[in-house]
Amino acid sequence: MSQQEISSSVAEQVAGRTPAGVARKVRGLSDRAIAWIFIAPTIVLLLAINVFPLIWTVYLSFTNFRANRPNRDVEWVGLRNYERVLTDSDIWHNMLVTSHFLFWTMFFQVLIGFGLAWLINKNFRGHGVWTTIILLPMMLSPAVVGNFWTFLYQPQIGLFNYVVSFFTGADPSSFQMIGSVDLAPWAIVIVDTWMWTPYTMLICLAGLRSIPDYIYEAAEVDRAGPFRTFWSITLPMVMPFLMLAVLFRAIENFKMFDLVVELTSGGPGSVTELASINLKREAFEKWRTGLSSAFAIILFVTVFGAANIYVKALNTVKSR
C-alpha cells in the first residue's frame, strides 16, 4: 500500500467517525473556511497576547495613566510622553550605554566565535569534547551567570582579579571590575561575551560546514594561498551565517536585562544602566505607565527599523 493510499484510508476512517451533525455542517464549507477554522485559535491567541497589548501600549503612551493608580482620571497628553523621553538626558545616556554594550559584545562574540568555529572545524582529536565544554556557558541561566560572576569579580576573593594579578603583577584588590566607572561597562561586556560566544560559534560552525570541499579543491588547483582562500571563499560563504548570528544576538542584547541587573544593578551610578533596566524602573518601580509605554514604543521602533535595514543587507549579501 502506497503512502497516499494509507493517508486516504486514514482520512476516510476519521471522516466516517465524525458525528453526523458535525459532518453535515462541515460538508457545506469551502476549503478556505475550513483552513480558517483551523488557524483561528492561533490567530485569536496571537491577537490577544501580542497585537492587543501592542495597540494598548500605543494608546497608553499618549496618556498619563499610572497602573498603580487605577482610580485616577486618565488624561490624554498627546505627544508629551514622547517629548519627555526624547529630551531626557538620562534616557539618552541609557541609549549610549546600550550602544556601547551592543557594539562591543557583537564585536568580540563574532571575532572569538568565528575563531573557535574555525578551530573546531579542523576536526582535531577530541574536538567533540571541546565543543561540549565551549557550549556550557550558554546553557546556564543568565541570573546564575550574573550572580557567580559577581563573586569572580570580587576584588578581595575573586578569581578574575587573581588571574589578572597573576599576569600583570598588580595587586588583586587594587581594581574593581564592577565597582569602577571605567571598568564596569567592560565587566558586563566580558560576561556576555563569555556566555554567548558559543552561540555565535555554533552558527559559524554550521556556515563553515556548509562550504563544499570541491570549492577548496578548486582553489588549491588554482594555487590560492591560505589567506586568499580564507578571504575569497571562507569569509564570503560564512558571511550570511555571521550576519544572522549578529542579528539574533543584537536583538537579544538590545533587550538585555537579567544578566546586567544581577551583575551591577545598572551601577555604579548609572554607568551600566541599559535602556531595558531604566524602562523597567520607569514602568514597574516608578509606575509611570504612560511615559514608559512611550519609551517602549520608541525602543520597539528602533529595533524593528534597525532589524529591517539589517535583514535587507543580509539578503543582499546572500544573493551575491
Binding site: 498603580n68 574593581q176 564592577i178 544593578s265 555604579p268 551610578g269 548609572s270 518601580e285
Partner: protein
C-alpha cells in the same frame, strides 16, 4: 455485603468530615507578609501563641529585602489577596492609605480600646498616620527600628591600638560622638594590620537597586540638619534639600566611602554590611537595630567582641528611621481574623514577649519599663535613636522619589559624577517633576 456497604459508607463519611475540618481550618488561616530577616523568625515564634489562643492558623510570606518593595507593592497595586496582614515599610503608608490598599483602623481601635497613646509617639507618627501627624491610623506600630552602628570592641580595646590612636588623634579611642570622629576612626583602621590580617575602616550602605544608598547617606544628611522642605507640607525644597549643610553632609558621605571602606563594597546593603563585619574585614559598620540581637549572639564577632552606638550627630542628633507598622489589607477576605491578630498583638504582655524574642516593640509599657535599658546591650541606644528619627518622604509617589534619590546619590558618591551640589540640585528637579505630576505643585 450489606455490612461492607455500611463500613464503606462510614469510611467515606469520615473522610468527608475530616476533609471539611481541614478545609474549615484552612479557611481560618491568615497570611502575614513581611521581609525575610531575623525579626521575621521571631514573629513566627511569637505568632504560635496567637494560634494557640484563637485557633486561627498563621501562614507567612517573607520576601528578601532587595525584592520586598517590588514584590509587595506589585501585590498591592494588583489588588492581590496573598496577604491578609502586611508589615509594610513606613514609606508605603501614604500610598497604602490613598490608593485604598490598607484598611483604616480608627473605628477598630476605638471599639477594641486600643490607644495610640500606648505607643512611642515617633513610631505612631511614622508607621501609622496618614496624612502625617493626623489621627488617621492605617497601621499599628509593629517594629521600631533605626539605622545605627556596631564596632569591634575587642579591637578598640587593644592597648597597642589605643596607644596608636591616641598618638595620632590626641584622644582616646572610644565610639564616636560626631560624624567627623566617625571618619577619623574609620581612617585610622583603614588598611591597618590586626592579628596578622589587613583590616578596613567601615562598611556603609551604597546599594543602588532598592533603597540602600539613600538610607545610608541620610544618616549623614540628617546629622547635618537636612530637611526635605522649608515649610512642612509645602514641597518647597529649594534651599532645604540643597542647603550648604546638605552639600557638606553628602561630600562627607562620599569621602567616608572613598577613604575608609573595604574594596568591592560598591553595592552594599544590609547583608553586605553583616558579611563584611562577620568576616572580620571592617572595624565598624552601619545597619538596622533589627539585626543587633543576631549580631550580639554571633559566635565569631558577638558577645564581648561587639559594641553598639547610635548614629553620631554633627549639627543635630538624628537617625534614619527604619521599622514598620502592621496593616490589614483591604482586598483580604479574612479581615475579621486579621483584625483579631492586631488586637492580640497590641496587648502589653505580647509586646513584652515580642521584645524578648528579638522583635523591637514600640509599646510604651515595654520601652518605659525600668529594666528595658539594661535588657540588651543596644537597648539604651535604641531609645536614644528613636527619640531623633527622621524618615524619607511617605508620599504615595514615594517609590518614584526614592529611585530619583538612589540615582543621584549613587551617581555622585560611587560613580564620581558631578558635585554634591549638582546631585542635590538635580534631585530637586526630579522631585519637583514628580510632585507636579502628582498635582501637588
Amino acid at each position: 455485603m450489606n455490612r461492607y456497604r455500611k463500613t464503606w459508607a462510614a469510611a467515606l463519611c469520615g473522610t468527608m468530615m475530616s476533609g471539611l475540618a481541614v478545609t474549615s481550618a484552612q479557611a481560618e488561616d491568615i497570611t502575614l507578609c513581611w521581609a525575610a530577616w531575623d525579626p521575621a523568625n521571631a514573629l513566627v515564634e511569637l505568632s504560635k501563641d496567637f494560634t494557640a489562643e484563637t485557633g486561627i492558623g498563621m501562614k507567612f510570606e517573607f520576601v528578601p529585602w532587595p525584592n520586598f518593595a517590588d514584590r509587595m507593592l506589585n501585590e498591592l497595586n494588583s489588588g492581590g489577596k496573598l496577604c491578609d496582614l502586611l508589615i509594610g515599610d513606613s514609606q508605603w503608608i501614604g500610598g497604602g492609605a490613598e490608593n485604598g490598599h490598607y484598611v483604616k483602623l480608627n473605628d477598630f481601635f476605638e471599639a477594641e480600646k486600643i490607644s495610640m497613646d500606648d505607643f512611642a509617639p515617633a513610631t505612631v507618627y511614622a508607621y501609622s498616620t496618614w496624612p502625617k501627624g493626623t489621627p488617621n491610623y492605617w497601621a499599628l506600630p509593629a517594629m521600631g527600628d533605626a539605622n545605627a552602628w556596631f564596632y569591634r570592641k575587642d579591637w578598640f580595646s587593644k592597648p597597642e591600638i589605643q596607644e596608636a590612636f591616641k598618638a595620632e588623634y590626641g584622644r582616646d579611642l572610644v565610639p564616636p560622638k560626631t560624624q567627623k570622629e566617625l571618619m577619623e576612626i574609620a581612617r585610622f583602621f583603614q588598611g591597618r594590620e590586626i592579628d596578622g590580617k589587613t583590616r578596613y575602616g567601615i562598611n556603609i550602605f551604597t546599594e543602588r537597586g532598592s533603597e540602600g544608598i539613600t538610607m545610608g547617606a541620610t544618616g549623614a544628611l540628617y546629622a547635618w540638619g537636612f530637611k526635605y522642605e522649608n515649610t512642612p507640607g509645602k514641597y518647597d525644597m529649594e534651599g532645604a534639600v540643597n542647603s550648604p549643610e546638605a552639600v557638606e553632609a553628602l561630600e562627607f558621605y562620599k569621602e567616608l566611602y572613598k577613604c575608609c571602606t573595604a574594596p568591592g563594597y560598591t553595592d552594599s546593603y544590609m547583608q553586605e554590611s553583616l558579611d563584611s563585619f562577620k568576616s572580620g574585614q571592617v572595624a565598624m559598620a552601619m545597619n538596622w537595630f533589627a539585626f543587633f540581637p543576631g549580631l550580639y549572639k554571633d559566635e565569631q564577632v558577638g558577645g564581648d567582641k561587639i559594641g553598639f552606638f547610635v548614629n553620631p550627630g554633627q549639627n543635630v542628633e538624628a537617625s534614619t528611621l527604619g521599622g514598620q507598622g502592621i496593616s490589614v489589607i483591604s482586598y483580604s477576605d479574612k479581615k475579621e481574623q486579621a483584625l483579631k491578630y492586631i488586637k492580640w498583638f497590641a496587648q502589653p504582655e505580647v509586646q513584652a514577649k515580642w521584645w524578648s524574642l528579638g522583635g523591637y516593640s514600640a509599646h510604651n509599657s515595654v520601652l518605659n519599663d525600668p529594666g528595658f535599658k539594661d535588657s540588651q546591650p543596644f537597648a539604651a541606644d535604641f531609645l536614644v535613636a528613636m527619640g531623633g528619627v527622621q524618615d524619607f518622604w511617605q508620599e504615595p509617589a514615594y517609590a518614584e522619589l526614592l529611585l530619583a534619590m538612589q540615582k543621584r546619590l549613587h551617581d555622585y558618591v560611587v560613580a564620581d559624577q558631578g558635585t554634591a551640589q549638582e546631585a542635590l540640585d538635580k534631585l530637586i528637579e526630579d522631585w519637583t517633576e514628580t510632585f507636579e505630576d502628582e498635582g501637588k505643585l
